[in-house]
């Protein structure tokens, strides 16, 4: 199989380039793309990529595989390889540190901006803040995000304005706290989002939904935030 991988070492390369490697894939196995990367690294130890848990939990190995973002560790070759060819690129839109490793600072800045922690102005109870099963159910489909950045880096609005548009990952988490019955900072949170960029730069093209390795739906969460902002304004 032909693997074409994005290479860039700022210390020695003037510009990024694609390195083509012909790889022997063990017969009768449907390897994950991360396993393919391990085979590549055996051949060329200078190849750099992030990885940790290798089972879709840590979110380290988000990358662009044959044009679509995803986690290399849970993406089987049978799902992405076309015409016996696999093209591997770093997540689009973020600065490349080296090869498949990107600088996620902008992504984390946007995440930080939405204050991703529970805020409650009432005194802390002796044991814990209780929540009804119904209220807890509202967080399903929101809390599971692992911040792999596959969604935000597949979003053109985030490509053009990564410093102003919060992006699908950050907005999914923003709604996770807006929807939480234990959080009392709803008004402050909404006030911080009611500008033309933070939420409203979403044009609803749903690239985020299409790539999310956890099957989450940031577009729906953004719709909920928009409705909250509109209701707040009427």
């Amino acid at each position: 199989m032909l693997v074409s991988v994005y290479r860039y070492n700022p210390e020695s390369d003037k510009a990024p380039y694609m390195q083509d490697v012909e790889l022997e894939i063990p017969v009768g196995k449907d390897l994950m793309v991360l396993d393919v990367l391990a085979l590549l690294k055996d051949k060329d130890p200078t190849l750099a990529y992030r990885r940790s848990c290798r089972e879709g939990v840590c979110g380290s190995d988000g990358m662009n595989m044959n044009g679509k973002n995803g986690l290399a560790c849970i993406t089987p070759m049978s799902q992405v390889v076309k015409d016996n060819k696999l093209v591997l690129r770093p997540l689009p839109g973020l600065p490349v540190i080296r090869d498949l490793v990107v600088d996620m600072s902008l992504f984390y800045q946007q995440y930080e901006k939405i204050k991703p922690y529970l805020q409650n102005s009432s005194p802390a109870p002796a044991i814990e803040r209780l929540q009804s099963p119904e209220d807890r159910a509202k967080l399903d489909g929101l809390y599971e995000c692992i911040l792999c950045a596959c969604c935000s880096t597949s979003c053109p609005s985030f490509w053009w304005n990564p410093d102003k548009f919060v992006g699908p990952a950050g907005l999914l988490q923003a709604y996770r706290f807006l929807a939480d019955s234990r959080d009392t900072a709803t008004e402050d949170r909404l006030a911080g989002l009611d500008d033309p960029f933070s939420v409203f730069r979403c044009r609803g093209i749903m690239n985020c939904v299409s790539v999310c390795p956890k099957g989450l739906n940031p577009t729906r969460a953004i719709g909920h935030i928009r409705n909250m902002l509109l209701q707040r304004a009427t």
Partner: protein, 115 residues
């Protein structure tokens, strides 16, 4: 909160609402014009002229023109803030869009009430 001095309203929700309401007005006006062309057998100058002499048609047309201006401003503002990264160039492009829309509006009023 991201601040911006050039967008239509001061809030994203306001711009969003203006964009949707103006879209509805434009859709209704388009349906009105297309229906007129399709269902008027003999569409002469006299028929047009008599129709646009009616006050409600003029008000409807002006409403559509104002809606077009607001809709286009918000849309083009979005596009220019996406693609034009140089501040001066972006401001000049937006100023040009604003000027063109203002000209269309005044010219439209002149046309509608000058018939």
């Amino acid at each position: 909160m991201v601040t911006s001095v050039t967008n239509f309203g001061r809030s994203g929700a306001y711009d969003w609402m203006v964009q949707r309401v103006s879209a509805v007005v434009l859709a209704l006006y388009t349906a009105f014009l297309v229906g007129l062309v399709l269902f008027t057998p003999d569409l002469t100058y006299e028929v047009w002229s008599a129709l646009f002499a009616k006050t409600w048609v003029r008000i409807f047309s002006l409403l559509a023109l104002v809606a077009l201006g607001a809709h286009a401003w918000i849309g083009l503002w979005t596009i220019t803030t996406d693609y034009i990264k140089d501040g001066l160039m972006r401001f000049l492009s937006q100023a040009l869009c604003g000027l063109v829309m203002f000209i269309y509006l005044i010219w439209g009023v002149q046309t509608l009430w000058g018939l």
